[in-house]
Symmetry: C3
Subunit: 263 residues, 3 copies
C-alpha cells in the first residue's frame, strides 16, 4: 500500500474500469499496433473484443498514414527486424504530440542492443511504458529484485511517463502517484502475448481517457479481473485464451466491483 493511491477506493477503480470499457464500446477507437508476429492475432482479437478497431501494418511506407488516422499507438519491440525499426521511428514521429503512445520493451533483458533501442524510445516520451520486472530492471538500470515504489516513481518522473510493471501484482506509477493491482491469474503467464495484448488495451484506454495514469490502471484492472474470471472457468491455457476474450467482451460493472483488488 502506497500513500498516493489511498484516496481512491476499490469501488472507484471498478467504476473507472467499467467507464473505460463503455467508452471503448461506444467510440470504437482506432489503435495502431507495431507488434511482434507472435502477438499480433491475439492482440487484434483482444482489441476487437472490447470494441476497438486495430490495425497492424509495419511497412515504413504506410505506417505514418495509419498512425495519423489512429487514436492510439502501441510500440512492441518483439521480433524486431530492420523494417520494424524504421517503422517504429516513423510511427513515433508521426504520433508526437497527437497520438498517445504505449511502449512495450519486450525482452530488453536478453539483448543489449535491444535495450539500447528501447532506452532511446523511452526518451521520446511515450505516455506509458508497460513491462515486466526483468525488463524494468534492464531499462531503468536498477537491481532486479522486488520493485521498490521509489524506483518506479523516480523512473516515471525522469521519463515523464507512466510506468506499468506487470506480473503477479501490477504496479502503475507516474511521477507522483502509484497504485498496486492484485487481480489476475497464474494462467496469464502461461499463454503467449498476454502482456502484449495488455499493452494494447492500455493504448486503447489512452484514446478515451486523458489522464494516462488512470487510463493505464483502469485498463489493467479490467484485464486482471477478466483474467481472474477466465482462470476460474478455464481447464488449462488453451481454454483460458478463449475465456478471457469472452469475459472481456462482456465485462460489466458488477463483476468488476465484485473482483477488483487494489491498494
Amino acid at each position: 500500500m502506497h500513500a498516493p493511491s489511498s484516496d481512491v477506493s476499490s469501488d472507484q477503480w471498478a467504476e473507472l474500469a467499467a467507464d473505460l470499457l463503455a467508452r471503448l464500446r461506444g467510440r470504437s477507437p482506432r489503435v495502431h499496433c507495431i507488434s511482434n508476429t507472435v502477438a499480433q492475432a491475439f492482440t487484434a482479437n483482444l482489441l476487437l473484443a472490447v470494441g476497438c478497431v486495430p490495425s497492424m501494418t509495419v511497412d515504413p511506407g504506410e505506417v505514418g498514414a495509419f498512425v495519423r488516422s489512429a487514436d492510439a499507438l502501441l510500440i512492441n519491440i518483439g521480433t524486431l527486424d530492420a523494417g520494424r525499426r524504421d517503422a517504429i521511428d516513423i510511427a513515433v514521429t508521426a504520433a508526437a504530440g497527437r497520438v498517445p503512445v504505449v511502449l512495450d520493451p519486450v525482452f530488453v533483458d536478453r539483448v543489449p542492443t535491444r535495450a539500447a533501442f528501447a532506452r532511446d524510445l523511452a526518451r521520446r516520451t511515450p505516455a506509458v511504458i508497460r513491462l515486466n520486472r526483468a525488463e524494468f530492471a534492464t531499462l531503468a538500470e536498477c537491481p532486479a529484485e522486488a520493485p521498490h515504489a521509489d524506483a518506479l516513481l523516480s523512473y516515471a518522473r525522469a521519463c515523464g511517463t507512466v510506468v506499468a510493471l506487470t506480473g503477479a501484482q501490477d504496479w502503475v506509477a507516474d511521477g507522483s502517484r502509484l497504485i498496486t493491482l492484485h487481480n489476475g491469474h497464474p494462467l496469464m503467464a502461461q499463454v503467449t502475448a498476454m502482456g502484449c495484448a495488455g499493452s494494447a488495451l492500455v493504448a486503447a484506454c489512452l484514446a478515451v481517457e486523458p489522464d494516462p495514469w488512470r487510463a493505464t490502471a483502469g485498463a489493467l484492472v479490467a484485464l486482471g479481473v477478466a483474467g481472474e474470471v477466465a482462470g476460474a472457468r478455464a481447464r488449462g491455457p488453451g481454454s483460458f485464451v478463449v475465456e478471457i476474450l469472452d469475459v472481456l467482451h462482456g465485462l460489466d460493472r458488477a463483476t468488476l466491483t465484485q473482483f477488483v483488488k487494489v491498494s
Copy 2:
C-alpha cells in the same frame, strides 16, 4: 432483391454450398495464400477445417514454385512490406491463366499508396475481389454510402471480375448477375481475420467450381451459415473463433438448407 438472381432459390444455394464443401473435402485443393501476419494462422486453420492444403510462404524466391503447384491463389495486402510486394507480383504472374486468384484489398481506404497498389492488382484480372464497403468505395472511386447494385455490377464488368462486398449483408456480383446473402452474425466483425479467411474460402471454392460467381456466392453462403450457427453457440468472440471452425468442419446440407437466406 435484384432480378438476375431471382432464378436461383435459397434451396439451390444451400445445395451448391454443400456440393462445394463436399468437393473441397474430396479433392483437398492446394491454396497458396500471400496474406498478412495477423490473419495467417486463422486462415490456415479455416482452410484445413474444410479439407484444403494451405501454404503461406511470401518469399519472392519461392512463391512462384508454390503458386505453380497450387490450385488457387489468395492475395491479401494487409501488413504489406517490400518482400510481400515483390512476392505478390511474382505470384500473380505465375498464376496468370492457370490458377484462379482472389484479391483482398485490406484497408485500401486508409493509405493512398496502398489503394494505388490494389488498383494495379485489380487490373490484372483476379477472378474475385472480396472487400468491405469502405474498401470498395476507395477501390471503385465511388461514394461510401449503401452500395448500389449498379455500382457493383458496373465495377465487376469493368474489371472482368466477380466483386464480393461483405458486411452485415454480402453482395456478390459479376458483370451481369448479383445476389445478396443475409446470413452471418455480428461476432464475425469482432474477431480478426474473418474477412481474410472468407477470401481464402472463396479461393478454395474457385479451385473446385469453374463459375467464379457461383464459387464465390457458395463459399460466402457456407461461411455465413457457419457464422450464424457458431454465433448462436458462442459466449463471446473467443469461443466464436473456436465454434466457427468446428461448425465449418462438419457443415452439412441440412444445416445449410435450414439457415440459408439469399435474395
Copy 3:
C-alpha cells in the same frame, strides 16, 4: 515392430514421457524458435503450456544473443525470407556444440531451392530432424512410399542425427535404434502448426534429456497421447486446438500409461 526398440515396453515410454514433462515444468528451459509466422503463436502457446520459456526473434542482429542464452533451438523453415535465412545461419553457428538443435524442413518437397537449403542445414548436425513423409523423401532423396525402417536408420546414421518422421504413425530413428509410435488423432492433421509445435516440444525435451533419441520419442509420445485425449473431447478442429493445450498442460503419468502405444 522393429527389433531395436523391443527392449523398451510401453510402460517405460509412458514413464519417460511423464518424467520429461516433469522436468520441463520444474526447470522451465528456454527454447528459441526461428519459426514461420503461421506457426509462431501456437508454438509459443504449446511451449508455455508445458512450462517452457519461448523466444521467437528472427532478427540477424539479435538472434545470436537469444540462442546463446537458450537451452534449445528450433529451426523451422516455413515462410522463409532473406532475413530468416541469415538468422538461421547465425543461430546454428551460435548453437554449435552448446545448444541442441531441431530442424523442421517444412515443405522441402515443394521448392527445389528450399530442399537445397535444408540439406545444407541437415549437414550441420542438428540433434533431430522432424518431418513428414514427403519431406523425408525429398530430403533423403529416396522414394516417397511407406518409409522403410532401413531408410530412416541409414539416413539418421549418415547425418549423425535423430530422424522423426511423423504422420498417422510416428517413426523415431537414430543410427541404430528405431521406435514406432501409434498415438495421435486425425484432427492433428487438420490444424495448422501441429508439426511445427511438435518439433518445438522435441527441442524442449532435448534441453532436459541428454539422449536425443529418447528425448524425441518421449516428446512425441506426450504429444500423441495429448492429441488422442484432445481428439476424443473436441467437436472439430477449432476446439481441438484448445483441448490439446489444456491436455498437455495437465498431462500426467496415469493418462500416459493408459494411452501410450509403441512398437
